[in-house]
């Protein structure tokens, strides 16, 4: 079957410039909203969930769902680290576990306002635990027993007193910032120091959790099961990956749902817009359709030509929408982690998934918006269409 | 009121089209007496419609004077022209040009909205006009529900609803079959004879032109001839 030449479609779009541009802009804005939410979700996902390690285990008090709720006295965390055979050992035969104290503390932002920033007191073993994934980008590590801090790289620009050499007062104790580090995920928006020093400065009696590297091939489920029933130090054990995803599923899902909801509602509105645009195209070109039909083009070819035109509009809108969101790629944003009431910083990420989803969505909008008008065009009787001027 | 409803002196009008200058009217003089019925004939591109637009105040000449109903149209602003048209001219077009969304009566009533008449008066006047064209039965029909001849009669009713001095018709029978055309021409003649309307009608059709008192022949923007049609000339203007 002969198709209506594509050049007809392109010319038509070009001739009706204002309509084409306006429809594209309208669909573009809709797609932009969806892409925007997806970029957030993707950024969040890569930041937190995908970076979690399977080799590291998190030990918390039973029942706790986040480290803010968990507590161990030093005596118990020592037992956990020393007497759990599944924990790997370093070259010197020391177990690779670090007890951590965690507290979110109000800090001033550079642009004004206050928000909670997570402070984490860690054991020296922590650097061995994280290995290459934790790098000092500036300055040096804190020294054991010293009132020194290292700051996650996402914080330096955004909070006051976070540059190397600054003095930061924790409760009433002055600490010196000696380094900037780059870790994974949320570590970049944390401030770290010696666990004993921070416990004292923060007047905390308990540690929050234990992080440990497991020996290769450890059955973590068996370990979790055993420790949950342990008499001396009952503990809840998760891999780091599990822990991180449990911390963020709600928020990640919220972005996803919100993106879907907003995109959906706006999408319906955009379909109406597209349908409208195509209907007025067809009304204006009734005579042309009559000519095409009388020349011998089949109704299906007409249907296809108009559907194609609508989908081209959708495609243009989709690309435009992605373009609108593109400048946000890599931009950092923060939002509250409802579990810890502290800010998590992450970056918008324009992944291929986002692009494909956004353009696909735009094509669907074009298809749905164009189908009915195209059907109407295809069903016209050539004589009636020709008579209309 | 002057003796002559229309007086054109040295009227010139040209257009730019595709970068070329097109002299449509080249110094035209024309006089039409009050109460006359002129048919305007000539080949395509001879300037018939341009002349009609100038007389109807839809267009302005580049040079020359256009006196219609005692006004020098060249001196009027756009807004004044609009008011002048409402007061003096009724148009009838080839394509009927009724508003498709309104019924016959509403179409006829439309220009009356420009007057201070009450709603009821407007309605009555519109109904009288429709009665005059013989379409009382069809008042509530939309244009799409009327035949071509009926549509054109509604358009004529609309043109006379304001009781204008002058009716300008651009190929009023161009889209009609013979019988319907005859009816419309008869109606125009009747308006001319019985109500004393001055009529200028552009037409291609010699048979249509026979209904007029004078036939003006235009060619290449110049007046070629004016022939009188003795049996149609009214006894006394």
């Amino acid at each position: 079957m002969t198709m209506v030449p594509m050049s007809y479609t392109f010319r038509s779009l070009f001739v009706r410039k204002s309509s084409t541009v306006l429809t594209t802009l309208s669909i573009g804005a809709t797609v932009a909203v969806l892409a925007f939410m997806l970029c957030l979700q993707q950024g969040f996902q890569t930041m937190f969930v995908d970076r979690g390690s399977e080799e590291l285990a998190i030990f918390m008090r039973p029942g706790a769902t986040s480290e803010g709720q968990s507590a161990f006295p030093r005596s118990r965390s020592d037992i956990l680290i020393k007497e759990t055979p599944e924990i790997a050992q370093d070259e010197d035969g020391k177990p690779m576990g670090s007890a951590e104290v965690y507290l979110a503390i109000r800090r001033f932002k550079v642009d004004g306002g206050e928000t909670n920033v997570p402070f984490r007191g860690v054991d020296p073993m922590t650097f061995a635990l994280h290995g290459d994934e934790l790098k000092m980008t500036e300055g040096r590590r804190f020294e054991v027993g010293a009132d020194e801090l290292i700051v996650g790289k996402s914080l330096t620009e955004r909070f006051v007193d976070c540059a190397v050499g600054d003095t930061m007062v924790v409760n009433v104790t002055p600490f010196r910032v000696v380094g900037i580090f780059e870790g994974k995920g949320n570590q970049n928006s944390e401030i770290w120091g010696d666990s004993n020093r921070l416990m004292e400065a923060l007047e905390r009696r308990n540690l929050s959790r234990v992080v440990a590297k497991l020996k290769p091939g450890t059955d973590i489920e068996a370990l979790a099961d055993r420790l949950s029933k342990d008499k001396r130090v009952p503990a809840k054990v998760q891999t780091e990956r599990e822990y991180l995803s449990s911390q963020t599923t709600t928020l990640s899902a919220t972005f996803f749902i919100l993106g879907g909801l907003l995109g959906g509602i706006m999408g319906i509105a955009a379909i109406f817009t597209g349908t409208n645009a195509m209907f007025s195209q067809i009304a204006a070109r009734t005579h042309e359709i009559g000519v095409l039909l009388s020349m011998g083009f089949r109704p299906f070819a007409i249907f296809f030509a108009f559907l194609f035109e609508a989908m081209l509009l959708g495609l243009a809108g989709g690309l435009f929408g992605c373009l609108l969101v593109l400048p946000l790629n890599g931009m950092q944003t923060g939002t509250m982690n409802a579990k810890t009431f502290s800010e998590s910083v992450f970056a918008f990420q324009m992944t291929p998934t986002v692009l494909i989803a956004a353009v696909g969505f735009a094509l669907v909008l074009g298809f749905v918006g164009g189908a009915i008008p195209a059907l109407k065009a295809a069903r016209m009787s050539p004589t009636v269409a020709l008579r209309r001027r | 009121m002057t003796e002559n409803q229309i007086e054109l002196r040295g009227v010139r009008r040209s257009y730019e089209r595709g970068g070329e200058r097109l002299d449509v009217l080249q110094g035209l003089d024309l006089t039409m007496a009050t109460g006359s019925f002129h048919a305007l004939m000539g080949p395509s591109g001879s300037g018939k419609t341009t002349l009609l637009n100038l007389i109807g105040g839809l267009d302005q000449p580049d040079a020359g004077e256009v006196f219609v109903c005692g006004e020098d149209l060249a001196r009027l602003s756009n807004q004044e022209l609009a008011q002048w048209r409402a007061d003096h001219v009724g148009f009838v077009f080839q394509g009927f040009n009724l508003l498709p969304v309104l019924t016959a009566r509403e179409n006829v009533e439309l220009p009356l909205q420009l007057t201070p008449l009450s709603r009821a008066d407007r309605r009555a006047q519109a109904e009288r006009a429709l009665e005059l064209v013989g379409l009382t039965e069809r008042m509530t029909h939309k244009p799409s529900e009327l035949s071509g001849g009926q549509e054109q009669r509604v358009a004529i009713a609309r043109a006379i609803a304001m009781d204008p001095d002058l009716i300008l018709a651009d190929e009023p029978t161009g889209d009609l079959d013979r019988a319907a055309a005859e009816q419309v021409l008869e109606l125009l003649g009747q308006l001319n004879r019985e109500l004393g309307k001055t009529i200028l009608m552009v037409t291609h059709d010699p048979a249509a032109a026979e209904h007029a008192s004078h036939v003006v022949h235009l060619d290449k923007g110049r007046l070629e001839s004016i022939t009188k049609n003795p049996e149609r000339v009214r006894s006394e203007a």
Binding site: A29, N116, L262, M266, A269, A270, F272, T335, F341 | L58
Partner: protein, 387 residues
């Protein structure tokens, strides 16, 4: 003229309906976004001026000694002090998030004149150690009724033997203003404290924050200074803030969320504006010949202009009215859907008016473009246009 406008709209039923629907959806979305924004900020904007919040100077998450209650009450200008302990428990599943606070029944009601008991009685709650008082939003969402036992799994305060805490619903409240949300559970702090002391539950002893209700004639700034000063030398320093400031710290934790909501609203506006403009331009194009006829008859440019403008306005306001209707219809459902995330969700007259104004502005601007070209086009050209 209105008749002409209405006839034109009715003559293109599909187009009018589609445009109105997209307008309706857009307005509905804008209402929801706007209401969410206002709701998020309501804790700050509607904060009481005579309530102060006292937290540890170190961190919100460091508890204060219980003995501070009497000390705070001794400060001049303080009428009552009330303990507030964030419980952070889970009802059945983590996704069922709502806040629970341990409070002092003997002072809580005096601190919150906003509290209106709609079912049960405050006295019954005060007398039952395991009693709780819940917001009507919780009653609606989870079907809790008076006398029901609500099991809550402790996370900060887990029961030693495992299992859930059990609270008995003794009263249901409704907030009189949006300074308070309608989805919180309040229970007797003493119940928690006794369990901790008896070893039935693990967790830190102490009080998260204190609430101080001031005398009517007390100066909040003075009282804040006095309270902070009182504990300057320990054992634990405190930070006293106004209720607005206290609310703001939670709002600022949301980071860019309010800005994002606003950005989405902007995109909605953007999309709908182009959609309406497109419709009106199409309407204007199709109407060119009619414009020519009207002008030939002697109608002024202004009339032609206003027919298109009014048409656009009618479309937009009608669409906006429908959208507003939908969002008011959705209000109840969204209120419970957003419960816990947003303090209060209300399609207020402010929101409604805002959306209508936006619709009218869009309608006006979108009507001007085709209206102007219709007013400007020469009569002859308009008549020559093919319909």
């Amino acid at each position: 003229m209105l008749r002409l406008v209405l006839r034109n709209l009715l003559a293109h039923k599909t187009r009018s309906a589609l445009t109105m629907c997209s307008m309706a959806f857009a307005v509905c979305l804008m209402c929801i976004l706007q209401a969410s924004l206002i709701g998020l900020e309501s804790a700050v904007t509607n904060a009481a001026v005579n309530r102060l919040w006292i937290q540890s100077a170190v961190s919100l998450f460091v508890p204060l000694p219980m003995s501070y209650e009497a000390k705070i009450e001794s400060v001049a200008g303080v009428e009552h002090a009330c303990k507030f302990q964030w419980f952070g428990g889970i009802y059945q599943d983590e996704s069922n998030f709502f806040a629970q606070f341990g409070i002092d029944p003997d002072s809580f009601q005096d601190c919150y004149p906003e509290l209106e008991i709609v079912e049960g009685s405050y006295e019954a709650f005060a007398q039952n150690r395991r009693g709780c008082i819940i917001g009507e939003g919780l009653a609606e969402k989870y079907g809790f009724a008076l006398g029901d036992t609500v099991p809550i799994i402790g996370t900060i305060f887990p029961r030693t033997g495992g299992g859930a805490w059990e609270f008995v619903v003794e009263a249901i409240y409704r907030p009189r203003t949006t300074a308070m949300d309608r989805v919180t559970m309040y229970f007797d702090f003493a119940y928690l404290e006794e369990a901790l002391r008896a070893g039935d539950s693990r967790g830190a002893q102490g009080v998260g924050v204190f609430l101080a209700k001031l005398d009517d004639d007390a100066d909040p700034t003075e009282a804040m200074g006095a309270i902070d000063g009182f504990f300057e030398n320990g054992p634990q320093r405190v930070q006293t803030t106004t209720e607005a400031e206290f609310g703001r710290q939670f709002l600022s934790m949301l980071g860019n969320v309010p800005a994002m909501l606003a950005a989405v609203g902007g995109a909605v506006l953007f999309a709908i504006f182009f959609a309406v403009l497109n419709t009106m331009l199409a309407a204007g194009r199709e109407r060119m010949r009619a414009v020519g006829i009207l002008k030939a008859m002697g109608f002024r440019n202004g009339f032609v202009f206003s027919t298109l403008l009014v048409e656009s306005l009618v479309l937009c306001t009608a669409g906006a009215a429908i959208g507003l209707g939908i969002s008011i219809g959705l209000e109840g459902g969204l209120q419970s859907a957003f419960a816990g995330m947003i303090q209060s969700f209300e399609i207020s007259s402010q929101v409604a008016l805002g959306s209508l104004v936006i619709a009218i502005v869009i309608g006006t601007v979108a009507g001007i473009a085709p209206g102007r070209s219709a007013a400007r086009v020469s009569t002859i050209q308009a008549l020559r246009t093919q319909a």
